[in-house]
């Protein structure tokens, strides 16, 4: 008999099968991923987790008999009271006799449950998306270097001394030049001590002297042996980003609108997290005054007051100057609002945006959240809001600002995709 320990075999034997499965079920999985992401908070929205798929997309059909109809015979254990000729009312579930046939016919489950890893989750979530070109150019320009190991050099600072390599070189040199080993000298010396005076002893003494001279001439470590670890400086893009969430929390913003905004922020956060190791979140809410708050307050604490958008932009400018130097941080901002603004503030908002905010940002998205479109009476045409008109003018003037309208949950993802979709030809330009 043989006993084989297979526990140490490389794992992930079924990885190839899993990838094939995910590729196969891609469309269904992507849909499920978007549904699953609805109920999570922003910070842990990209942690992977369990998914439920409808079994239809990955069905493995086979010829088998239908689960109902026809003449069937069942043999069951555990008879207690029945005698021959007894009639049993048909159970409700589609004519199965006491339910034994469901498992026999392999009718299968309607849903298919399995877990996705974090990477798989995010991959599917952000399939086909990429940062706008603008951001890429900016990232490439940043002067920031990191060091990478690149072999050995013969000069360098003592702290970078490559000890192993140096000793190895010295050893091979010593072997090549036949430098006497200390043990050899020691052995010679003891032999000489045991010998009486005479021819033989003198010969050995000469030999010892010769070897000692050789030892002196051939150093244990020669400057030739010394090696230093070499490092190359590699320019590195700034690996940190900050994401500003700006939101109007005045009374006109309903829970529904906030929910829409939250979903958009989640998408943006996951997307940035994918590109940058370190993503900071800043929440700025505003009514007629603006303040920086934590996530919970941002989404859940009610506030009343008028609506002055420029206060939020002003607050953002302050935070940027204070903590996030645009040369060291990639700044992204997403603003959500129902479009209301005090009429007198529009001009000031536009000016602030164009002069200070946009130049500092990689990307600025404005999301106008509305009520569920379906609730509007048919034939009702909505007038563009104050803020929309203001921003539209800014965009027409050529400023890099992305703006979209969203009315329903299901629109969020398409709008997000639309904003970040990989533009055809952008690869060629890059």
């Amino acid at each position: 008999m043989h006993i084989v320990d297979r526990r140490l075999n490389p794992g992930g034997k079924s990885l190839a099968n899993r990838q094939r499965f995910i590729r196969r079920a891609r469309a269904t999985i992507t849909k499920s991923v978007h549904e699953a992401s609805g109920g999570r908070s922003i910070a842990d929205s990209d942690s992977g987790g369990e998914l439920v798929l409808p079994a239809q997309g990955v069905r493995e059909p086979s010829f088998h008999r239908a689960a109902s109809g026809g003449i069937r015979d069942y043999l069951l254990p555990g008879n207690k009271e029945y005698v021959v000729g007894d009639e049993i009312p048909r159970p409700d579930n589609g004519g199965g006799g006491n339910g034994p046939d469901a498992s026999q016919d392999g009718a299968g489950d309607d849903e298919f449950r399995f877990a996705l890893s974090r990477d798989e989750f995010v991959d599917l979530f952000l399939d086909d998306l990429e940062l706008p070109d603008l951001a890429k150019r900016r990232v490439a320009n940043v002067e920031n270097v990191s060091y990478e190991r690149a072999g050995y050099s013969i000069s360098g600072s003592p702290t970078n001394l490559a000890l192993m390599r140096t000793v190895r070189n010295s050893l091979s040199r010593r072997i090549a030049l036949h430098r006497p080993k200390p043990e050899e000298l020691e052995a010679l010396r003891t032999e000489i001590e045991t010998l009486p005076q005479g021819e033989r002893r003198r010969a050995l003494e000469e030999e010892l002297a010769r070897k000692q001279r050789r030892t002196m001439l051939i150093p244990y470590i020669d400057p030739l042996d010394v090696r230093y670890k070499r490092f190359n400086a590699v320019p590195k893009p700034v690996a940190q980003a900050v994401m500003f969430c700006l939101m109007d929390v005045s009374g006109s913003m309903t829970e529904h609108m906030k929910d829409l905004a939250k979903r958009f922020y989640i998408l943006l956060y996951i997307f940035l997290k994918r590109r940058y190791k370190n993503v900071e979140l800043v929440f700025i809410r505003h009514t007629h005054v603006a303040s920086e708050v934590d996530e919970d307050t941002f989404f859940h604490s009610p506030e009343t007051g008028g609506t002055v958008v420029s206060t939020a932009l002003e607050e953002m400018r302050r935070v940027v100057l204070d903590r996030f130097d645009p040369s060291a941080w990639n700044i992204y901002a997403a603003q959500a609002s129902d479009g209301d603004n005090t009429a007198s503030d529009n001009e000031r908002t536009a000016k602030l945006l164009v002069d200070t905010i946009l130049p500092a940002c990689q990307y600025f998205a404005y999301l106008e959240v509305g009520r569920d479109i379906e609730h509007f009476p048919p034939g009702f045409i909505r007038r563009n809001s104050d803020l929309w008109q203001t921003y539209e003018a800014v965009v027409k003037a050529g400023a890099p600002l992305a703006m979209r309208k969203v009315g329903h949950r299901r629109d969020i993802y398409p709008v997000f995709r639309d904003l970040f979709a990989r533009k055809i030809g952008s690869e060629a330009a890059a």
């Binding site: 006993i3 084989v4 369990e50 059909p61 010829f63 069937r72 015979d73 254990p77 029945y82 399995f114």
Partner: protein, 516 residues
């Protein structure tokens, strides 16, 4: 019977084990299994694996290596999710019908469980694989691992040459038809020259022996030479009707590339390899459970198992052979371990201490004393269906409280046909045996005709038993695969087996560009 003195040292104490423990257990078990019970087994190879590897083995139907396909990934994902959620435990072992016989044992098992698993898998299943006629007839234990390795590499090469999608589509289609890709009866082997000569000699000898000159004087009949119609000729040419659909496609589908035929062949071979396992589930598990029960008891008698280990074993054993009643929430069909084990024990009892009833029902084996010889013979020569038909005793029918419910789809209620009484035994036996008969459980689907010179429409018949049609949704999906492989239209008729009336027809055209 057991008068052996208690030996001084048990094989192990406590739950921990190491490889030497496993070796010791194996040797002690081998002594009992081969020496005392007379089992005949392939050499054993025991492989220790972890959780993930067990899940791996699950998803590739227990085989150590297999080609790549998304459906295995799907099963892995589901099993893993169920396991992580605690909804499903993992098997203690998996055993592969190969030579040497490979048993996987889980590293989490306690020493007692390892002993149990070795007795169950490495001796019980192993003996059954080596000796049962179905396995001898259908599977090649020596070659299966090599074949699977070939299959894996071949599929990989095809993926490189023809693209993953093309291979996947072919395999999908082949998998859908897998249940109808087996030969149910041994085919006539191709004759070789020596066989041919021998047969010819025998025939001549026979002619000489029965020669009678009188026959020559009889007036001949008018020319009645049967002239086969065109239909019959072309059916004979294609060896129709054919129930092995994959084999038929592999040989006759007009538009498949050679590598696609080879893929069909691989799937077909795998299906054929597993074909006996589906027909011997009850016996196989019954045999293994009986063997491990015997062995563990003997080990305990010999003092090789501590009392604590014995209690642990009995707890696990009773869980395995538990049969919930039909009205129990846990009921999900008849437990093959429970019924199989009970039948084996019952046969042993009939051999050793038969009752008058047993002598009446089983005159051949009642009171033969050597129960193991009887059991070994049964394990070698029966499959589930014939085993039940032959050896389900009235006593067991009473013990399990088996009863037969008849469900006529048109009647308003179900009817109890027979219960465990004198008039019912035979009917219950027959009904249960039928549940285990593959001839009844898989629908009878055959390729009956195709006009290769004409429109090449493939005609497939389903002989409908008891008016139970195919599940339509699935059937159409499979037919779509069939049409894709065939390359032309496929017509399926569902024909009532008793009255020959056509109950339903499906026609499916191949999807353009599905292949090629």
């Amino acid at each position: 019977m057991s008068t052996t003195l208690k030996s001084a040292r048990p094989l192990f104490e406590g739950a921990d084990w190491e490889f030497s423990t496993v070796q010791r257990c194996h040797d002690a078990i081998q002594e009992i299994a081969v020496g005392e019970m007379g089992l005949c087994v392939y050499p054993n190879q025991i492989e220790v694996i972890g959780t993930e590897q067990m899940l791996d083995a699950y998803s590739s139907i227990g085989m150590p290596l297999f080609y790549k396909h998304w459906s295995f990934g799907k099963h892995f994902a589901r099993d893993e999710a169920m396991y992580r959620a605690g909804m499903q435990g993992l098997a203690y072992e998996i055993v592969i019908n190969s030579n040497p016989c490979i048993s996987y044992i889980m590293e989490e098992n306690s020493a007692t469980m390892q002993t149990l698993v070795i007795a169950h898998a490495a001796f019980g299943h192993n003996h059954f694989f080596k000796n049962n006629y179905l396995f001898k007839q259908w599977t090649d234990a020596d070659g299966i691992l090599d074949y699977l390795e070939f299959a894996r590499d071949y599929v990989l090469q095809c993926e490189e040459k023809y693209g993953e999608t093309a291979v996947e589509t072919t395999l999908d289609a082949a998998h859908a038809l897998m249940s109808h890709g087996v030969h149910r009866y041994p085919r006539a082997r191709a004759t070789n020259l020596r066989m041919e000569e021998k047969r010819e000699r025998e025939r001549r000898l026979h002619d000489e022996q029965v020669f009678n000159d009188l026959w020559r004087t009889l007036p001949g009949k008018a020319a009645t030479r049967h002239d086969p119609t065109a239909l019959e000729r072309r059916r004979a040419l294609l060896q129709l009707p054919a129930e092995n659909i994959l084999y038929f496609l592999e040989k006759s589908a007009p538009r498949l590339a050679p590598w696609q035929r080879e893929l069909l062949r691989i799937v077909r071979q795998v299906a054929q390899y597993f074909y006996p396992q589906g027909q011997t589930k009850l016996m196989n598990e019954g045999c293994a459970t009986f063997v491990h029960y015997k062995i563990m008891n003997r080990l305990h008698e010999k003092g090789l198992l501590t009392d604590g280990a014995m209690v642990e074993f009995l707890k696990s054993h009773t869980n395995v052979v538990f049969q919930p009643d039909f009205d129990d929430r846990r009921y999900s069909g008849i437990n093959p371990y429970a019924l199989g084990f009970a039948m084996m024990q019952d046969i042993e009892r009939i051999c050793i201490e038969p009752t008058a009833e047993d002598r009446q029902y089983f005159p051949d084996i009642a009171g033969t004393e050597d129960a193991m010889a009887v059991l070994r013979d049964i394990w070698a020569n029966y499959r589930d269906e014939s085993f039940i038909l032959q050896y389900l005793s009235p006593r067991l029918i009473r013990q399990f409280g088996l009863f037969h419910v008849h469900d006529d789809g048109d009647a308003p209620s179900l009817k109890v046909r027979s219960i465990h009484d004198d008039t019912g035994y035979r009917d219950i036996k027959r009904t249960l045996a039928r549940q285990y008969d593959v001839g009844w459980s898989t629908p009878d689907i055959q390729v009956v005709d195709v006009d290769l010179a004409g429109d090449r429409k493939l005609i497939v018949h389903h002989r409908v038993l008891n008016k139970i049609l195919l599940n339509e949704n699935d059937a159409r999906m499979v037919l779509q695969h069939l049409a894709d492989l065939w390359g032309y239209d496929v017509l399926m008729r569902e024909i009532d087996a008793t009255s020959d009336t056509v109950l339903k027809e499906h026609t499916i055209s191949p999807r353009p560009g599905a292949f090629g």
